[in-house]
C-alpha cells in the first residue's frame, strides 16, 4: 500500500488573547491508502486540531502551521494557496463531525447541501448531482432518499443526519475521510450502526479513514493502526493488536487500564491515572506526561523524549523498551501508584444482599409504584385534545438499602425523568414513590424539605450544577446553611473536611468553580451531595462527561464513599460497561418502560429482553481480536410522543411476532431475580 498522507514534525500554533499557544508539537504520522488509523487521547490531547490541520481548517481559527510538512498523495498542503486547498477539500479529503445536528446548515435542504459539493467540484450538473445524492443517501442506509433530499436537517434524527453527512462526505469520492468523533453524540445502538456503515463504505470506496475517538473500544474495533496523543504530542503509535497487547507508553497503559470492560471485576477499584491533562498554556517541561507518570525519573522531568522505534512500533518514552515488559499486557492487573489495581471482591467490598424471592422486595428502601410522567404536547388554546409525551409510563421498581441500582437506556428512555421524580424534582403524573416506607408524592413543601436531607444528587455537568458566582465553600456549604444551624467556624471545618474526603485540597475552599478541572468539579459536586450525610444519592450520568482516566477516579471515589457512609446509589448512565461495573442490580429502560431488571452479572450473562441483548451487542470491545458476537439493533428509537403499540420495542425487535404488536408484555420472571417484559424472552 502506498502512503496517502504523510505528516512530518508538524507544529501548530494558535494566536490567542494570551499570546501564541502551541497546540501541536512535532507531530509525525502517516496513513496508507485504504487504511484505517485511529487517533486516540483524552480531551485536550490535540486530536481534533491534528485533523483540522490536515484540512488546513485551522486557518480560519487563527491557527498557523509553524513547522513541519503535511503531504497528501505527494502534494505539500502546508505550502498551498487557499484556492488550491479549496479544490482538494471535499474532493480528495472529506470530513465528518461529532454533532451531525449542528454540522448541516439548518436553512438549506439536505439535498441542496449534497448537490452543492458535487457541483462545486465540477463532477456533474445539478441534475446528475441530484441523482448521485439520492444514490448516496440510499447507500448510506437512509430510507426514502428522494424525500430526504427535500427535507431540512432539523427534520431528521441524529443518526439519519450522520448517515447523510457520510453520504455528503463521500459525494466526490475522497481518498481520505477524516471522522472526528462521529458517533459520540449518538445513541449506542445507532453508534454501532454508523461504525458498521463506515467499515462497509471504506471497502466499497477504497478510501483511508482517520478516525478520531476517545473510546478505546471503538479504536479496537475499527483501527488497523492506533496513534495515541497526549498534550499535543504523539506518544505512541502501533498496530491495534500491538497496542492492546503490550502498550509501551505509560500513558497508553494507564488509558487502557482505566476503561471498564464487560469482563472486568465488578466493584473493584479501577486503576486510574492521577491528575489531569495539562492545558496548552501550562505544559510541563521535559516529557509532558511526567507529572502523572508513576515511572518518571529526573531525565523525564528535564528532557522531552522523541518518538522512537521500539519493538516494531513507535513510542515517546525514555524507558519504553524497559517498561514494556514491566507494563505487561493491556488487560493484566498491575501495580499503579502503589495501590493494588483490581483486587478481587472481598466481602467488605460488596454489601450483603439477601436473595429475594420475588420481583417486589418487602419493605424496600425506595419503592417506585406504577409511576408515570406525561408531558403535555402543543398546549395551544385551539387544540381540542392535548396529546402528550409519555416520558415514563407505568414503571415499578424497588431499590434496596445499601445497593447501587443501575439504570440504563438510550435517549428518550425516561431514565433521567424517573430519577428526578424520585427526588421530587419533577411531579409524577401518576403512581407513588415511597422512601423508607413514606410516600413522597403527597408531602407538603416543608416535609419535603426535610426529606431532602436524606436524598441528594450528583449531576452530569458539574460546572453547570454550580452557581458560577459562588465560591466552593458556599457551594458545598449551601446544604449546611439550609438544613443545619451551625456557626461560621463549625461550617468551615465541615467544608474543609468534606473537601478532604473527596480528595481535594481544603485550602481550595475559597476558589471559584471555573478554576477547577472537570474531574475536580465533579469532586466538589460529590462533596456537596454528601455534606448532609444522606442515605440516598442519585448519580445522573455523573461520569459520562468526563475523560476516561478521570472517570475511573470518580468511580473509585464514589465506591469508597459508599462503603464509608453506607450510601445507596441510583446510578443512571448510558455507558453499559460503567453501569455494570458499579451496580449490584440494573434496570433497562426503553421509551418510558422498564423492560428488564436483574442482578448485574446475570443481566450481562443472560440478557432476556431482545433490546438488552442488542444494547450489549452494540458495545465496542476494547479488544481488537474480538469479533462482534451478535448484530446490534437496526432502526432508530421512535418518538416518545407516538410510541409503538403493544411492545414498544417491536419496531426494532429481531424476534417480533404479531402478538408483540398488539399486546403489551408485562414484567415476568425469567430466572431467579431476573425479570423481563417480553413475550418471547431469549
Amino acid at each position: 500500500m502506498s502512503t496517502l498522507l504523510e505528516i512530518e514534525n508538524l507544529t501548530v500554533q494558535f494566536n490567542t488573547a494570551k499570546g501564541l499557544l502551541t497546540a501541536l508539537s512535532d507531530v509525525s504520522l502517516h496513513i496508507r491508502a485504504g487504511e484505517t488509523v485511529c487517533l486516540v487521547g483524552e480531551s485536550g490531547s490535540g486530536k481534533t486540531i491534528t485533523s483540522k490541520s490536515i484540512m488546513r481548517l485551522i486557518d480560519f481559527e487563527n491557527g498557523i502551521v509553524s513547522g513541519g510538512t503535511v503531504k497528501l498523495d505527494g502534494d505539500e498542503l502546508t505550502a498551498m494557496s487557499g484556492r488550491e486547498l479549496q479544490n482538494l477539500r471535499g474532493k480528495k479529503m472529506a470530513m465528518i463531525f461529532q454533532e451531525p445536528m449542528a454540522a448541516f446548515d439548518p436553512v438549506f435542504t439536505i439535498g441542496s447541501q449534497i448537490i452543492e459539493v458535487i457541483v462545486r467540484h465540477k463532477l456533474g450538473s445539478r441534475k446528475q448531482a441530484w441523482a448521485r445524492g439520492v444514490e448516496l443517501l440510499r447507500r448510506a442506509g437512509i430510507p426514502e432518499p428522494e424525500a430526504r433530499m427535500k427535507q431540512y436537517p432539523g427534520e431528521l434524527s441524529g443518526g439519519m443526519l450522520q448517515r447523510a453527512m457520510i453520504a455528503m462526505a463521500l459525494a466526490c469520492g475522497p481518498e481520505l475521510l477524516i471522522a472526528d468523533e462521529p458517533t459520540t453524540a449518538l445513541d449506542m445502538t445507532v453508534q454501532a450502526q454508523i461504525l458498521q456503515l463506515l467499515k462497509e463504505l471504506q471497502q466499497e470506496f477504497n478510501m483511508a479513514i482517520l478516525l478520531i475517538t476517545h473510546d478505546m473500544g471503538i479504536a479496537a474495533e475499527m483501527a488497523d493502526r492506533i496513534i495515541v496523543m497526549y498534550a499535543g504530542k504523539v506518544v505512541e503509535q502501533a498496530t491495534a493488536s500491538q497496542l492492546f497487547g503490550q502498550p509501551h507508553h505509560p500513558y497508553t497503559k494507564g488509558l487502557l487500564q482505566s476503561i471498564t470492560t464487560l469482563d472486568s471485576i465488578r466493584k473493584s477499584r479501577l486503576p486510574s491515572i492521577e491528575g489531569t491533562i495539562p492545558g496548552l498554556a501550562e505544559l510541563p517541561e521535559g516529557c509532558r506526561f511526567h507529572p502523572r507518570c508513576p515511572h518518571a525519573t529526573a531525565k523525564c522531568v528535564q528532557e522531552s523524549p522523541p518518538l522512537l522505534k521500539v519493538n516494531g512500533r513507535q513510542a515517546a518514552c525514555w524507558y519504553a523498551g524497559e517498561l514494556a515488559g514491566k507494563l505487561g499486557d493491556g488487560q493484566a492487573v498491575v501495580q499503579t501508584n502503589g495501590q493494588s489495581a483490581s483486587r478481587p471482591c472481598s466481602p467488605a467490598d460488596i454489601v450483603h444482599l439477601e436473595p429475594e424471592p420475588g420481583y417486589s422486595i418487602p419493605s424496600p428502601f425506595i419503592d417506585i409504584i406504577e409511576v408515570k410522567k406525561y408531558y403535555p404536547l402543543g398546549r395551544s388554546i385551539f387544540a381540542k385534545h392535548t396529546s402528550s409525551i409519555r416520558a415514563v409510563d407505568d414503571v415499578s421498581l424497588q431499590i434496596r438499602r445499601g445497593e447501587t441500582f443501575g439504570l440504563v437506556g438510550e435517549s428518550g428512555s425516561g431514565k433521567s425523568t424517573l430519577g428526578r421524580m424520585i427526588l421530587q424534582l419533577e411531579q409524577a403524573t401518576g403512581g407513588d414513590i415511597r422512601f423508607e416506607g413514606r410516600s413522597l408524592t403527597g408531602l407538603s413543601e416543608g416535609e419535603l424539605q426535610k426529606t431532602r436531607r436524606n436524598m441528594q444528587m450528583i449531576f452530569q455537568d458539574p460546572y453547570g450544577s454550580m452557581n458560577p458566582r459562588w465560591k466552593v465553600s458556599d457551594i458545598i456549604g449551601e446544604p449546611l446553611r439550609v438544613h443545619e444551624a451551625m456557626n461560621a467556624s463549625e461550617k468551615r471545618i465541615r467544608i474543609e473536611a468534606l473537601l478532604e474526603s473527596v480528595g481535594l485540597n481544603p485550602k481550595w475552599a475559597d476558589r471559584y468553580p471555573h478554576e477547577f478541572s472537570g474531574g475536580q468539579r465533579q469532586r466538589i459536586g460529590i462533596a456537596r451531595a454528601i455534606a448532609l450525610r444522606p442515605s440516598f444519592i442519585l448519580a445522573d450520568e455523573a461520569v459520562s462527561a468526563l475523560d476516561v482516566s478521570v472517570q475511573a477516579q470518580i468511580i473509585n471515589l464514589m465506591q469508597e464513599l459508599q462503603q464509608e457512609l453506607g450510601l445507596t446509589y441510583l446510578f443512571i448512565g448510558h455507558g453499559l460497561h460503567v453501569v455494570r461495573h458499579v451496580s449490584d442490580r440494573i434496570g433497562v429502560m426503553y421509551l418510558g418502560k422498564l423492560v428488564e431488571i436483574a442482578d448485574s452479572e446475570e443481566l450481562f450473562a443472560n440478557p432476556a429482553h431482545h433490546y438488552t441483548r442488542g444494547l450489549i451487542a452494540s458495545i465496542p470491545w476494547p479488544d481488537p481480536g474480538r469479533e462482534r458476537i451478535a448484530a446490534g439493533i437496526a432502526g432508530e428509537i421512535p418518538s416518545p410522543s407516538k410510541p409503538p403499540s403493544g411492545c414498544r420495542f417491536h419496531t426494532r425487535c429481531p424476534a417480533v411476532t404479531a402478538r408483540c404488536r398488539e399486546e403489551e408484555p408485562k414484567l415476568a420472571q425469567v430466572r431467579n431475580s431476573h425479570w423481563a417484559a417480553c413475550h418471547f424472552p431469549a
Binding site: 483540522k52 436553512v107 438549506f108
Partner: protein, 314 residues
C-alpha cells in the same frame, strides 16, 4: 399554516383592543378642559361652557364616554377635530401616504446600508474596516435625528442646493429625511447583523462547508448571511415601528405634511380626538407590521415553518 395565522390574528386583535384602552387612558389624563380648546376661558359664560360640554359629551359618566369612543373607533369613526370639525380618520388617511413613503424609504435605506456594512464588518472582523464600520454604527445610534436632519439640510440644501429642505411633494423631498432617519436604523442593523453573523460564523456547520471546499465568498454570502438574516429580520420589524414613530420628529424638521406632523400640531393645540386617532392608528400599523414580519419569518426559516406544522398536527 391557517391555524397559526388565525392564532396570530386573534392575538393581534387582542393587542389592538388593549391599545384602544391605553389610548383612552392616556388622553383622559390630559389636564385642562377640552371645552377651552374651543372656547376662550376669558369670555365664556357658565352656560356656554355647560352647553359645549353637553355638545362634546364630556359631561357624561366615564364608562359611557369610553363606550362611545371605543364603539366609534372600531367602526372607523375617529371623531372630529375640536379645532375645525374636520373628521379625524379622513385627515389621517390623507396625510398617511407621505408618512408611509418616508417610513418605507428610510427602512430600505436602513436595511440596505445596515446589512451591507454589517456583513462587511463581520467578515473583516477586528481589521480596520470593522473598526470603522463599528464607529459608523455607533454614530448612527447616537445621533439625534433632528440634528442629523439639520446637518443634512445645512450641507445638501443650504450649501449645495441639491435637495429641497422642506415639503412633501416629489421624491427629492424624500431623500434627506429618509437618509437621516435611515442612518439611525442602519446603526442598529449594522450592530445586529454583525453580531448575528459572528455567531453564525462560529457554528459548526460553517466548518463543514469549508471542509467541502466551498469558497469563502459562498460560505459567507450564501450560508452565513442567510442564517444571520433571520434574527435580523425581526429586528427590522421592530425598527420599522420605531422609524414610523420617528417621523414625528423628522416631519417637523423637514416640514413634511404627514401624520407625525398632525399629531405634534394636535398635541400643542390639545386637540384630543386627533391625538387619540393618530396614536391608535399608528398602533394598528405597528401591530400589522409585526404580523407581517412574523409571517415572513416562517417563510424564510424552515425551522419555524416546521414548528408551525407540528403545532398544527398535534
Amino acid at each position: 399554516m391557517i391555524r397559526t395565522l388565525t392564532a396570530r390574528l386573534v392575538s393581534s386583535i387582542m393587542v389592538v383592543l388593549g391599545a384602544l384602552v391605553l389610548v383612552f387612558v392616556i388622553v383622559y389624563l390630559l389636564p385642562g378642559d377640552p371645552v377651552f380648546t374651543i372656547l376662550d376661558p376669558a369670555t365664556a359664560t357658565p352656560e356656554m361652557i355647560a352647553g359645549m360640554r353637553a355638545q362634546l359629551g364630556v359631561d357624561r359618566p366615564l364608562y359611557e364616554q369610553f363606550w362611545d369612543y371605543a364603539g366609534g373607533m372600531l367602526q372607523g369613526d375617529f371623531g372630529k377635530s375640536l379645532l375645525n370639525d374636520e373628521p379625524v380618520l379622513p385627515k389621517i388617511i390623507a396625510h398617511f401616504p407621505a408618512t408611509l413613503a418616508l417610513t418605507v424609504a428610510s427602512s430600505l435605506t436602513a436595511a440596505v446600508i445596515g446589512i451591507w456594512l454589517g456583513v462587511l464588518s463581520a467578515i473583516h472582523r477586528n481589521r480596520w474596516l470593522d473598526v470603522v464600520v463599528r464607529i459608523i454604527g455607533l454614530f448612527g445610534i447616537s445621533m439625534p435625528t433632528f440634528w442629523s436632519g439639520i446637518l443634512l439640510i445645512l450641507i445638501f440644501s443650504v450649501n449645495l442646493g441639491w435637495f429641497p429642505a422642506m415639503g412633501s411633494d416629489g421624491w427629492q423631498t424624500l431623500v434627506l429625511p429618509a437618509l437621516s432617519l435611515g442612518l439611525v436604523g442602519s446603526g442598529f442593523i449594522v450592530r445586529l447583523v454583525r453580531n448575528s453573523m459572528l455567531e453564525v460564523i462560529n457554528e459548526p456547520f460553517i466548518v463543514t462547508l469549508r471542509s467541502k471546499g466551498i469558497s469563502e465568498r459562498l460560505v459567507m454570502y450564501r450560508h452565513a448571511l442567510r442564517n444571520a438574516l433571520i434574527p435580523a429580520l425581526t429586528m427590522i420589524g421592530v425598527l420599522i415601528g420605531d422609524l414610523l414613530a420617528g417621523t414625528v420628529v423628522i416631519e417637523t424638521v423637514f416640514s413634511r405634511q404627514g401624520i407625525g406632523r398632525i399629531i405634534s400640531d394636535a398635541l400643542m393645540a390639545k386637540d384630543l380626538p386627533v391625538v387619540q386617532g393618530v396614536i391608535f392608528f399608528s398602533a394598528i400599523i405597528y401591530v400589522l407590521i409585526n404580523l407581517l414580519v412574523d409571517m415572513s419569518y416562517s417563510i424564510i426559516d424552515p425551522r419555524v415553518r416546521r414548528l408551525n406544522a407540528r403545532r398544527q398536527a398535534s
